[in-house]
């Protein structure tokens, strides 16, 4: 019983750790892609790439950004209103 409890606690810790690792894995994949592109094209300018951004309709946008007048809408609407 005790060993089962300890086992469960350890698993819970692992679950929490894995939940934290999800973001790291995302960042890791993003950074890896940038590194590979830098190897393939050493002179390329990647300063515009940001892991917090997303590509929508061919534009790099902030998926959490809000539309004017405080109305929350999809990130795509921001690009439409701005451009």
């Amino acid at each position: 019983m005790n060993s089962l409890r300890i086992d469960c606690n350890e698993k819970q810790k692992e679950v929490l750790k894995l939940e934290g690792d999800a973001y790291d894995s995302y960042e890791d994949g993003f950074e890896n892609a940038l590194q590979q592109i830098r190897v393939l094209y050493p002179d390329i300018d990647l300063s515009g790439a940001d892991s917090m951004m997303r590509v929508l309709r061919g534009r790099i946008v902030d998926p959490l950004d809000k539309a004017p007048f405080g109305v929350v809408t999809s990130a795509g609407s921001r690009t439409q209103t701005e451009h």
């Binding site: 469960c8 894995s25 994949g29 592109i37």
Partner: protein, 223 residues
Amino acid sequence: MYISGLTRVEDQNRVMHQSLVSVEETLKNTQKELTTSREEYSALEESYSKLESELNSLRIGCNEKDEEILKLEDAAFDCYEDGFENALQQICALHPDFDLSGADSSMRVLLESFCSILYSIGVILHCQVSTNLFPLWIGVVYLIFVIIFFADKMLHTFSIFKIYVIPGLRVNPNQPCLVRRKLTAWELRNPWRQFVTILSGQQLLSLRLSKLLRRSAPNWSRS
């Protein structure tokens, strides 16, 4: 005589009455013990069923956590792939003319510092053992210089080592090189382990090392 016989009968009667009273007391005590035992038994039974249900819930919880761990491990892969794909999309949006087909999420970039040190070790081993071009101490001094020079990069690099070379793509140790290998979920979570895996002699590293050894002498003066 009659009176004495009567007295004897009375005595016997008294004795029998006393024994009857004691038997009754014993019976009462036994009944009490039985009641107590029954109560204890039912209490034990209750606690046993509680323990059993707790054990079952623990087992179920453990199994659920196992499933959750597996899901999260898969999710780590998905997150990694998502990050990689997002970066490619952004680069594509920034530079539409670039061909990004050479990028592969199962590859990694071997950084310059590691290449240099690996190269240096290869040079030293090769030149000292087979050609005897220079004394060993020169090689050791050079290696120390390289390690000190790239120490800061190494510290950074150690945390992101996930390596393996695309055979023949990059052999110049001055350049970072792409490396190929499928990462396991466990390795994604333990970058240091990947480095250990490399050192423990994976096939592609030895392939790369042999290439470095073959071309060691001409590049020796590069530093």
